[in-house]
């Protein structure tokens, strides 16, 4: 296993590529349920923020952040055309009837603003164990979907068909 700090910096781009792939899956109506291996239907929507970054080569970077509930993502797609990557995005994930909202950062996979389906927090102290278990179950569920999708992305990324199929389709979506 590589040194953790080195690996964090060297392979952070895979997280950014993954988030860009998620955006592509959402925009082109791909079957996310099948990719996530879930028994329940899984769908994603882009939430109320997305950030992109473009390395300009001379150690300078171009950053674009789009925020707002009804914000158009045209500037984001323009940035993708110029070679930018998604570095951070807010997602709405539906697993069966349950809805989860969160922001995820590509390089760290840190999750912020995670809202799970509501649980009953008015229970007595005796029932606190039940609340903790239920909350843990919900958080684990959405994390598992993210991890499974990421591993699926990596599997595709190193496959023989990546360049001729997936990458080609993503490039076509970006240029469309």
């Amino acid at each position: 296993m590589l040194d953790i700090a080195t690996a964090y910096n060297k392979y952070g781009f895979l997280g950014n590529e993954f988030l860009t792939w998620i955006w592509y899956l959402v925009e082109t109506d791909q079957d996310i349920t099948a990719l996530s291996g879930s028994n329940d239907p899984v769908t994603f929507e882009i939430g109320n923020s997305i950030s992109l970054e473009n390395n300009l080569g001379d150690k300078s970077k171009e950053k674009i952040t789009i925020k707002g509930d009804q914000a158009g993502l045209e500037e984001g797609t323009t940035a993708l055309k110029k070679g930018a990557w998604v570095t951070d995005m807010n997602l709405i994930c539906k697993i069966g009837e349950e809805e989860y909202k969160f922001s995820i950062k590509g390089e760290s996979f840190n999750i912020t603003g995670l809202k799970t389906p509501t649980i009953d927090t008015s229970a007595s102290e005796d029932e606190i164990e039940g609340m903790i278990i239920e909350k843990s179950f919900l958080i684990t569920k959405v994390i598992n979907v993210i991890d499974t999708l990421f591993l699926k992305f990596i599997e595709k990324r190193i496959s023989e068909a990546w360049k001729t199929s997936d990458l080609k389709a993503i490039r076509e979506w970006i240029q469309s």
Partner: protein, 205 residues
């Protein structure tokens, strides 16, 4: 309580390792030995340790539970004193004037200034109250997975240090590379191909 609040910020860890006397006992010992002290040293700037999830201001693991279903759940409490820079500046100005009058000189030396600053910070630190911050920890021991309910760098670093000291298990932060390494089931050939990847050029030119 962070774990059952409506919104969460989380960072994740992979935890591998075993306890010679069983996990529950090992975790209990680690929590007791590294619980946040009830009486804090008033001259310290920071005090950190474990505390029960349900009673964060009563760090007594002899009576409080840390086992919920199959999870270990407890909290990291970081009590910190923070002195506003402007307050230090104000007291430095007052003390500098005093020193000048005492010495009869119109200036004070660099060493005197450093000594004064140390004294001012010490006095203010003594007078300032600790501000507690509580970060919940959810450890799924069987699945080697742990969630820290914070994404703050300082909290993550303190957590990693205290966790290793308490349980002798090194927490490995989950991010793209460690997901592949620890959560994936790739063959060594596939891993080599992953390690050889470089950023894509999406423009296709």
């Amino acid at each position: 309580m962070g774990l059952i609040s409506s919104t969460h910020s989380i960072s994740r860890y992979y935890i591998d390792g075993e306890f010679p006397d069983g996990a529950a006992e090992g975790v209990r010992q680690g929590l007791i030995e590294n619980a946040i002290p009830e009486m804090e040293n008033e001259y310290d700037e920071i005090s950190a340790g474990w505390t029960p999830l349900e009673t964060p201001y009563n760090p007594d693991f002899q009576s409080a539970s840390f086992l919920f279903g199959t999870y270990f759940a407890f909290s990291l409490r970081i009590d910190k004193k923070s002195i506003p820079a402007k307050l230090i500046q104000k007291h430095m100005a007052i003390e500098t004037e005093k020193k000048k009058k005492e010495s009869g000189r119109p200036f004070i030396s660099k060493n005197e200034k450093a000594e004064l600053k140390e004294m001012v910070v010490d006095i203010l630190m003594h007078k300032t109250h600790f501000i507690p911050n509580i970060y919940d920890v959810l450890w799924d021991y069987e699945n080697k997975s742990l969630i820290l309910f914070s994404t703050q760098k300082a909290a993550n670093e303190l957590f990693e240090t205290l966790f290793f000291k308490s349980f002798d298990h090194k927490p490995i932060k989950i991010f793209p590379y460690t997901i592949v390494e620890k959560l994936g089931s790739f063959s060594s050939d596939q891993k080599d191909r992953i390690l050889a990847l470089s950023p894509l050029n999406m423009k296709g030119i």
